[in-house]
Amino acid sequence: METTSAATDKIRCDACPVMCYIKPGAAGACDRYANHDGKLVRVDPHVILERTVSQGGKLVPFSRSEDWDGKLVHEPSTFVTAIGAGTTYPDYKPAPFIVSSEVDGVDMVTVVTEGIFSYCGVKVKIDTDRYLGPETATVRAQGEAVGHVTTSEYGSQMLSLGGVHHLTGGSKKEGRVTCDTLMDLANCKAVELTIDGGASVVVQAGQPPIVNGVKEERMRVGCGSATIGMFAKQWHGKVDEVVVVDDHITGVLSEHQAGKLLDIADTGIKMKGRRSTPGRYFQVADPGTGWGGTNISDPLAILGPFDKKEAKPGLSMLMVSTTGEHSSYYVLDEALKPVETEMPADLKFSVERIQENCEPALCTVLFMAGAGGSLRAGVTDNPVRLTRSVKDALTRVTSGGAAVYVWPGGGITYMVDVTQMPAGAFGYVPTPALVAPIEFTMKLSDYAALGGHMDYVKPLSEVRGGDDVRPLPWQNPIPGPRA
């Protein structure tokens, strides 16, 4: 796509003969191309379409006449599959009129709308072992409480932000800041959060976290003990001892089961912390942003003196963090003190191998909301039927065309990966509450059944009794995490 810069900061789009002048931050007449920092970019809904096609979405070429044979299907053309066979394309603006056929009950109705959610929030997964703050600590944005630290997950720290309590239960400012924070996070913008008694972290969906000003590069390959297990064979014969420093479980090769199996000799090493099982130590240091999520910068701080009975001068030791980001190599001197020495090449290689096995650290943001009674009531006179219809997979729920995970149990509580949604999909109302796109796609006959007053109404029991309960289409490879 070429652009010609015209007067001032406008750009002229040449995607079609309308040749719109587009100002920075604005879109052209089609709403598909926009000026993003002086560059012409393609925006939704094709983001969704292209994803669908790249994931093997179904294309049905319509081609016979010479005029437009083949070549004309030069763009992904299955956007309806992105949100199901909706009657209009997945616009997240209201599409109030929908022509639908009632014959055969096979046409689809897509209720494209923007839901207003006061019961909503985001779950943030931050790929880091660095200490962000104690569990249940308050998370703040601009000084206002917007959520809390929740239970950590594998290699990741979790935040739970928003929710009705912060949106509407606190001060007016708290509600406004919470709403802004949620909207920015949901729209994939960077937000700086501070955690009481912990770190400051910049979170942006799909980007590495920045903890206390330092960008996190990698997730750890495993806990310290797991790392010993994974790499023991590669270390065998190249070094006498390996300590994998980890705030969770620090691993020691010579004592670890993996080392025992390789007949690795005892080294007389003395670890600080609390021994769990052989070669596995808890709490070798306090949590922090140093080695392996601990607060240490000198790894020798977690060792006591070597046992004179077992240790020998010349004994070699590798200390490495669970991401391979930190590593040092030591040789014991005559006094059995570890002296840092240049690391041999094959050990450097093993450290690089650890790094290579660490996935890029990212922040992920899942928007979570419940479609309440009023929203459902807007769709049908008997809201619980919509819920049941969703649960029975007769009605598909999407958010901005993106697949969602609907929680089992009561209500329609769903989660969606915000990076799978069109740019700028979220808005807010001053309530404060978030405005998020939500689409219910269903067979017209099902819809009639839901509405209950249309002349072609079919009792829900009749629908449910038949073969109409279909698998959700995104059990086929449609992108986005299944949460």
């Binding site: 049905v60 022509v99 249309m454």
Partner: protein, 298 residues
Amino acid sequence: MTRLPQIALLSDGRRLHLQDGPIDLIVEARGPAHEVRAAYEAAAHRFTGLLDELCAELPELRAAAEDRTALKGVVARRMHAAVTPYADDCFITPMAAVAGSVADEILLAMLSAASLDRIYVNNGGDIALHLGRGEHFSVGLMDRPDSDGLMRAMRVDADDPVRGIATSGRHGRSFSLGIADAVTVLAATASQADAAATVIANAVDLPGHPAIVRRAANELQPDSDLGARLVTRDVGELSQEDIAAALESGAECARQLFDRGLIEGAVLRLCGDMLVIGPKDIEEQRPRPLVLENAVDA
């Protein structure tokens, strides 16, 4: 590379999708299979190059409409004809009817090539209909299904004069001078419905109200046909009286158009409140406490 429109059947194998630049159509025809095929081929053929035709006269199409026109293209002239009834009373350009006029053109191309029971051509919510004898469409009117949501449906029969439906408002792709969330108009053709929906949506307004944020159209889109006219960007908190007054202002406009025979009906919506103009039955789909309900049949 020559730019070509996107032409494909949707995955259901029944509906045709046509897209080129800002034009996005979903078409469905019903009738014998070979007739449907012929109609879709005619639609695809007519669609190819249609945007270029329009763009060739874009400066004139973006200028205020006058009684006489030098426009040549058949779609351009249809756009002009649709807006001319309003040109004496307000600023309007043929662009106000572009979506409906394109829908009408594709519908006509299909009808000239095949004999079909019924067809709709949906151009982003501006819809051209064909109904054979005894046929009808049921049209769902979907308001925002939030706390103020309403679901309504109506039936368009072959005997009705309605062959066009269009919606305009401040949430759409085009700018609005008014504050209506949506004004949906039924008219004899999609182009007429499109122009009327624009005019009525502009009339749903509260001039000078402090909660309404307006910006010059050309500040937002340098080549907007609205020039420096102020377009609605945001509507803050409105009282029930404000909402009623704004809707009534639009309703008065709609009643005049109805009396002049330019429209067959209209549904106006603002902040969850709704007004219905015209004889068309708009069935309410569900009982609800009518706190905000304010339906009036003119």
